[in-house]
Each structure stands twice: as C-alpha cells, then as structure tokens.
C-alpha cells in the first residue's frame, strides 16, 4: 500500500511538530534542572527534533512495509543512551567546582530524566503520525498528539520531599562545642568564631518521614546530598573552602528516623529554607519500597 506524497508530508510534519513540541515543553526553565544556558537548549532541542523525526517517519515506513525501519528505532535508543552518558559526564565534571556537590544519585537521576524526555518526544511523534494516518485529518492528529503530551506528564511525574516527608523548622543549640539539634549531635565546632556565625546565621530543619518507605528512602545519602545541594545553591552559603566548619550538614536521628539538616546561609530565612527542601525531588532511582516486602512490614509493625 502506498501513501500519496502530500498525505505523507502531512503525516511526517505533524508528527515531527508535535514530538518537538513535547521536547520543548519538557525543556521549560527550571532552576533545578540543567541546562540553564542557551547552548544546552540548542543541543537538547536538536536532539528532540531528531527523535521526533525518527518517531514520525517510523509509522509511514511500517505502513509501506519497510520493516527495516524498526532497526532505526533501535539505533535511536542507542543514541539516547548516549545522551544520558553525555549528561552524566558533564555533570560529573562540574562536581569539583561545586562547593556542595550534587552527588552521584542526583546526577544519575537528572541524566535518566533527560534520556526519558527523548523517548517521550519519539513516542508522541509516532502516535501523532499514526493518528493522522488513521483519521486522515491533521487536526485530529494534532489533538491526539496534544493529548499524548498531556498524558506523558503522568509518566514523567516525579515525587518531591514534600510528598514523602514533613519538613519542620527547628533550632540549633550549642552544648559546649557540640552543635546539637533536638539532642542529636551533628558536629564539634572548635572555633568560637565559627560557633558565633552558626548561632547567628545557622538554620535547622527536621525532615520527618511520612511512612516506612520514606523512612528508608530519606536515609539514603544521595537524597540527603541532593537536599544540601539544592538548599546551598538557592540560599547561598557563608562557607568558603577555608571554613569547613560552616559546611551544611545532615544527620539522622537514630531514635525516630528523622533527618536533621543544618545550613549556614547568606540569608537565614527559615521559611524559605523549609520551602526549598520541600521542593527537592525525592530521587526516584534511590527510593526504596520496603512496605512491599512482607518481612519489612512485620519488622516495623
């Protein structure tokens, strides 16, 4: 069966347009996700167009019995895996320049999201061109594509700290040189000068997990590092490389599983601090679900 030229163009152009739109929407400005610079946008948009084109061309190719087109999709998957590698490599290279590094878990999470976004572009494009072909109408195809973009948000949905835990403001208390929050010792600050700065500009919050799953997840060092990175990068640190005593800290309260976060910020605004921590992504790749295990349920009940 062959498709006439004009219809072919309609199918492909519609698919590419909607697929690229999907990628563009996921490229929205987000303080949290890199890229934040124009070149990064260009790179990812171009890759988005390529993946959309692959998706869009796959449908007419299959209809015309060009089954080898499937191998191109496999090639595309390989390509997107490389996107992940590139993201990971570049973020890892920048780690050394960060006062508070992102941590391996956070980097892995970002890289995976970037890979997945290309698949979304490809899937939306394929679905759109299929809809155009079946309905023989560009408008219906566009509607289906738009719906696919909307629904893809559910696939790409990520959880935040606010979904798995409560974030409560707390107070720093010094017991001699010991920095304590709620009777948990976080550090030993020897310098009087450091203690004064921490008393003046230090903030403490408690992250109280909502259930068994979040209790285990929040204890992961990767999530804790991501929290520190986000908070430090949004409120600014008093710390410098020669004042390691002002570095932000996390510690778990071994009595109830709370996580305590202490930070000495340029602007010690506790409400902002709580808000920022609530909006840190609860990294999906390191989250655990022990509530699905019978043994764990027994142990914690």
């Amino acid at each position: 069966m062959s498709i006439n030229h004009e219809f072919y163009i309609n199918i492909v152009v519609c698919g590419i347009a909607l697929g690229t739109l999907a990628r563009f929407i996921y490229l929205r400005v987000d303080y949290r996700q890199y890229p934040t610079y124009p070149q990064g946008y260009m790179t990812h948009l171009t890759l988005g167009i390529i993946s959309a084109a692959l998706g869009a061309f796959s449908v007419p190719a299959l209809i015309e019995k060009q089954y080898t087109a499937v191998t191109f999709l496999a090639l595309a998957a390989q390509q997107f895996k490389e996107v992940r590698e590139i993201e990971r490599a570049s973020l890892e290279k920048m780690e050394a320049t960060e006062l508070v590094p992102r941590g391996a878990a956070y980097i892995e999470n970002i890289a995976k999201i970037f890979e997945a976004r290309n698949y979304i572009a490809m899937a939306v494009a394929a679905l759109t061109s299929l809809a155009v072909y079946l309905s023989k109408s560009v408008i219906i195809g566009t509607i289906v594509g738009g719906l696919a973009i909307y629904l893809s948000r559910y696939v790409m949905k990520i959880a935040y700290i606010r979904d798995i835990a409560e974030v409560l403001p707390s107070k720093i208390v010094f017991k001699g040189p010991l920095l304590c929050v709620e009777d948990v010792v976080l550090a030993d600050i020897g310098l009087k000068e450091g203690r004064e700065i921490i008393e003046k500009f230090g903030m403490a919050v408690i992250i109280r997990p909502k259930g068994l799953d979040s209790l285990i997840s929040i204890n992961n060092l990767g999530i804790r590092q991501a929290i520190l990175h986000e908070a430090a990068n949004q409120l600014g640190l008093k710390m410098n490389i020669d004042t390691p005593e002002l570095a932000p800290l996390t510690m778990n309260n071994n009595e109830n599983g709370d996580i305590i976060v202490v930070m000495v910020a340029m602007k010690p605004d506790i409400d902002a601090f709580v808000e920022i921590i609530k909006n840190v992504p609860a990294i999906e790749t390191v989250r655990k679900y022990p509530s699905k295990s019978r043994g764990a349920r027994k142990a914690f009940n």
Binding site: P177, D188, I189, G190, L191, E193, D242, T243, P244, E245
Partner: protein
C-alpha cells in the same frame, strides 16, 4: 576493597597545662599558653590548611582535614 583516607589530623593545638592529654603522633603538636591563644592559633591553622577545628574539651583542639 579500596581504602580511602577520608580525614586525618593535620595538627593538634593543646594548652600547656593539658600536656598530659596529648602525646606524639603523626601530627605536630603546638602548645599554647591560654585559651584565647588556642582559639587564635587554631583559627589561623584552620584557614591555612582548610581544615575543621574540633574541640575535645580537655584543652586539646584537633584540626581535621576531610577529603
């Protein structure tokens, strides 16, 4: 298994009267006369070596560098 050094003592700043609380090791021990001098000296060393100062509360301060 790989073994990493995650932190080590760069220097020890001790009060002269707490001399019995420290003995020789890998780190140099610096004796000071009073607590004010101890604070000042450990602050200088902390800034030089980018190390954190920890108070052991027995007249001994240790400077620990983390990696």
């Amino acid at each position: 298994m790989e073994v990493h050094v995650t932190g080590y003592i760069i220097a020890i700043v001790a009060l002269r009267k707490a001399k019995d609380n420290v003995s020789s090791g890998t780190a140099p021990i610096i004796y000071v006369e009073n607590e004010e001098e101890q604070q000042k000296l450990s602050m200088y060393l902390s800034r030089i070596f980018k190390a954190a100062v920890h108070d052991l509360e027995n007249g001994v301060f240790i400077l620990v560098k983390q990696y």
